[in-house]
Subunit: 246 residues, 6 copies
Amino acid sequence: MRVKTIVPVTTERFIEPTKQEAERYASKRTEIDVEALNYGTASIESAYDELLCAPDILRIVQEAESNEFDGIFIDCMGDPALDASRELVKIPVVGPARTSILFAADLAEKFSIVTILENVLRVERNLAKLAGVSDKLASVRSVDIPVLELEERKKLMNALVEESVKALEEDNAQAIILGCTGMMEVAKDLQDSLTERGFEVPVINPVAVAIKHLESLISLNLSQSKRAYMHPPEKERNLFEKLPGE
Amino acid sequence: MRVKTIVPVTTERFIEPTKQEAERYASKRTEIDVEALNYGTASIESAYDELLCAPDILRIVQEAESNEFDGIFIDCMGDPALDASRELVKIPVVGPARTSILFAADLAEKFSIVTILENVLRVERNLAKLAGVSDKLASVRSVDIPVLELEERKKLMNALVEESVKALEEDNAQAIILGCTGMMEVAKDLQDSLTERGFEVPVINPVAVAIKHLESLISLNLSQSKRAYMHPPEKERNLFEKLPGE
Amino acid sequence: MRVKTIVPVTTERFIEPTKQEAERYASKRTEIDVEALNYGTASIESAYDELLCAPDILRIVQEAESNEFDGIFIDCMGDPALDASRELVKIPVVGPARTSILFAADLAEKFSIVTILENVLRVERNLAKLAGVSDKLASVRSVDIPVLELEERKKLMNALVEESVKALEEDNAQAIILGCTGMMEVAKDLQDSLTERGFEVPVINPVAVAIKHLESLISLNLSQSKRAYMHPPEKERNLFEKLPGE
Amino acid sequence: MRVKTIVPVTTERFIEPTKQEAERYASKRTEIDVEALNYGTASIESAYDELLCAPDILRIVQEAESNEFDGIFIDCMGDPALDASRELVKIPVVGPARTSILFAADLAEKFSIVTILENVLRVERNLAKLAGVSDKLASVRSVDIPVLELEERKKLMNALVEESVKALEEDNAQAIILGCTGMMEVAKDLQDSLTERGFEVPVINPVAVAIKHLESLISLNLSQSKRAYMHPPEKERNLFEKLPGE
Amino acid sequence: MRVKTIVPVTTERFIEPTKQEAERYASKRTEIDVEALNYGTASIESAYDELLCAPDILRIVQEAESNEFDGIFIDCMGDPALDASRELVKIPVVGPARTSILFAADLAEKFSIVTILENVLRVERNLAKLAGVSDKLASVRSVDIPVLELEERKKLMNALVEESVKALEEDNAQAIILGCTGMMEVAKDLQDSLTERGFEVPVINPVAVAIKHLESLISLNLSQSKRAYMHPPEKERNLFEKLPGE
Amino acid sequence: MRVKTIVPVTTERFIEPTKQEAERYASKRTEIDVEALNYGTASIESAYDELLCAPDILRIVQEAESNEFDGIFIDCMGDPALDASRELVKIPVVGPARTSILFAADLAEKFSIVTILENVLRVERNLAKLAGVSDKLASVRSVDIPVLELEERKKLMNALVEESVKALEEDNAQAIILGCTGMMEVAKDLQDSLTERGFEVPVINPVAVAIKHLESLISLNLSQSKRAYMHPPEKERNLFEKLPGE
């Protein structure tokens, strides 16, 4: 099967590691095609960023269906443009936030999301509300590190462990969701650190669960309900034509 | 006070009637400035449309604050770009859906929204969830008339009365919210029709309540909490510069 | 428009400052008539007090409609006799608690109420439940100062700042509602104190929002739904006739 | 044990049948003292009526504790003055609505209340919300018969059966609560009628469950939490002294 | 009336004190028959234990109805096999967890359960969810003492007081439910200790309330709804025949 | 990977078709081992049946971990013994109800479960409550066909289509979950029938999603949180030793 993975920002250096991360979890026979945006923002750390990135995400979504991809993964924990993408196409579109939240709701009674900046706490809480499981959300905590500095791995790990332990001890979480898909390659180390400290809890890597969940949907021929996500009516739309080709 | 009213679509013929509608309800001393989009869609009937209109809404929002407007009204029942706009500026930004929902939650135990097309039922339900009062939402019903045909007033009135009566009788609603800001000048007639049929219930005109609510916020020096809607961090963003000037 | 403001206690010295407070926020053309009770309690600090004040509130409500007032504001954060008043008359009746809660639900995801005594925590929580937005209520906290000592302004301000900061830091509130309408003239100072401490959050003065909201309802010809608040059936009622005239 | 039963209206002809009804369900050793109001309304069919009856209910409540009653039962499905009564005294005070709702929540997943008039639907729904189990409330339905005509037993039975069957079939209720304590001596017949129609569901008589529940509380030395229902602070209160003695 | 009390574990030394505890609270005329299991576990401290005990509980339930008992009390705060028992028989079956939760929901706005081990926190939280009142559950706390060591009374009392005070002060509980029916004879002492510390809150003994509630149901001829708990269809079942007689 | 699939009833003729159904959806490299019970009931159509089957399910679960299976699938829509199994072992255990509910919560706003008999409506509703998404459950409907007659395929299909259409039209569902794992090989036909009738909605086959979800968990090294599902403490347990070997 062929999966279009959208890195929904303009930062091209994320493409290669995202491809590696996605392929690490995908089935061997899954072809992972990764594409970043021409128009948008360097990272997503607000609803504002999400909206500036949305038009180019939607362009790629539409092209992916035309180019006969089997499914689409929008690789950002804000699930930017997820609902609109699901309206636009019939092939399944998954977001890592919604998928992680539902996996966590299966594996635990209460879970926490440990994300980047305070700016996106509202965004994550709203995604849990719309997923329908906000009663199971113990907390959203932030490590206070911007997306573009997540590569400083040691600083990230220390902050992740600290906030995860607070989530488990103070907020009664029983599972941890990594709150940014840019937190790559840290899930296993965080899991190990928590285990060392006596916490036997799942650490959910949103890229990993989204890829596997999308593969499940594709192989079962399942997709978003078109009664929930109806196709947009025809009309005049002029944004795309005003954006210059590359 | 000076209020920027954004008609968040590219259909310029809505500007004048919107200005009249807003001025009908605004205080005499309120200056209403109405602006439509350069880029976007002719109407909003899906999450997809909302996202294509969002960048130009955000441009106007930012300019409005620079130009010392006192508040902003985004005139569409999808409340497009509302959260992002609230992040971007300090002056209050109101959406008609959220405002109508909270007015209805005050005046009744249960209310219904009667909107345009089935396509946007999900959108309205999600707005009620995020406003926090979905327990009071009796139903969202649609008249099955696209935005650009709402001017056929008789057809609209018949459909509005029919769906409102169903909402009141079958769904136990006690108040009706008009589900599209393009349903102009019909609130009073709908109220009268319902009264004739024995239903003494408020019919909420979203333009009217949003304008009054915004005036209240401005005059009380109240605005969205910046702890809920933090200002987006600085970073490279390239969408606006790629959009041609007019 | 003419607004009847009911000071729903027997303490006449509240009448003048209430009039000033209400007029500060009302439109110039709004006539504010303030009236206190003949029968009831000196202040309201329990459900018991609310009930002892209710009959005389209802008398004034009924007279206000007969005397062609356009709307009624019951000036106490317990919203005493609000539902019964709404049954009794067709003109809009607003309570400051319900109004403040809905304003806060618009401007923030989570808000706290900082009230007078522990005795009324239950009352405020129940009002949030019945408003329908208890998911957004971060906490109700008390300054532990009785109504009749609220005039000791410095003590009040210190306690308000302390409890508000706890609400913001410990309970994750993003907006503060003053929990007693006797906390007059402190909203701005509290807002300034919080801003100095780095909290850019709205402080909601219940008198102010209730007056503006009532003006909005009156000017839009909106009132409580009579399907939610039906008129009481005719029957023998003997309380009023047993209460002596003045 | 000695139980004060308050018929919280001024209709004295209810005293005797209420005493019989309460004694039918009470333990032999329980002394049932029934008292109606001097001041108030002939029946309770609105929040307005509840408030006009509240002061005299509270007078009796206070006297009952002074006179060493062991518990108090306020015999009306609006649970009028229940919270205030619980503030006022240490002996347990029970309301039939809250008790019936909790019994029904034990015996079924979903239950309906079949009450007198549409006017009180809001009241009953709010009581379920405050009891905390509104998710289990399938519906509140009314037989459209005023309290003072409930003695027309055949008409009442027909209407009760009709609305109960609708509750069971259309609203998926699995238990029925009689929605007015004036519906005396009909529970068993309704139960039999429903059984004949194939519905093996509990019919909850609010007087019966309230009396038994109160006896349970008294015998276990349990009462309302004084952290939930704190004693009202001392202050000037002048309503009672203005009401003439008999 | 005759009540079958099931000690749903194989530890026979619990039979006599359970009988004493139940008789202490039951009416004089109630005959209490206590029976422990032949097959199962020595105590219940997990869902696993509940399931291993369930078959023999169900055997006793069925026999109790055949032997014309009037009601059944399953004496364990996990309410093991409660739903299945209610399917199986027409006589009322009560569980102490569900009963305590509903009593607490009557007497307070918020309550906590103080139980034995962390292992059963999930179980108690789920019981509150299914009772329908999880909004009123302030917390579930554990004393970290296994069931079979609860007889060390001093250690138990110290731990109970400590956790109850935390529940009241930190979690805002207003009532305490003893979280294990093996915590016998401590309710009064805990209540006294809390009162000494200034907390006037009900301490709910689950055995006591379950016995009284069951007596109420029996005397009112009320039982679980058979539309909620339908009788299991006939079919081949071979577990019981494989279990050896004693 | 090696997956133990438990057919949690004693009906051996289900083993072969279950193996075929599971293998149809599993990855080629997944080894599916199917085992039915020695002790229990011929089918599961009540909580009573679930409990009679639980001990033998738990025996197989424990053996599966000892025998180095990588994960366990309990193949029944009541998710019998799921929580206890998760306590007992560290390898992931999945139930088809919980998995289907979370898949549906991803793909739609509202979904319905179409199950076998009215007897299990309560069971399915409770599973949705405990999964945390009961707000998204539009309805549970039954085809009124016992498990052991599900092989009459035409009758089943007609009933499934009829109830699914009602769920979509009357209950506003947007996705359908097959409510019994014995409804094998019908998902695709039901999907086609609904598509023909104009309903473009996902039909979720619980066996299929559970197998894929379990494969995802295993391949990502994820399992149930041991803070949610703690291992049962050691103690005397005598049920297994009393059950005869084969």
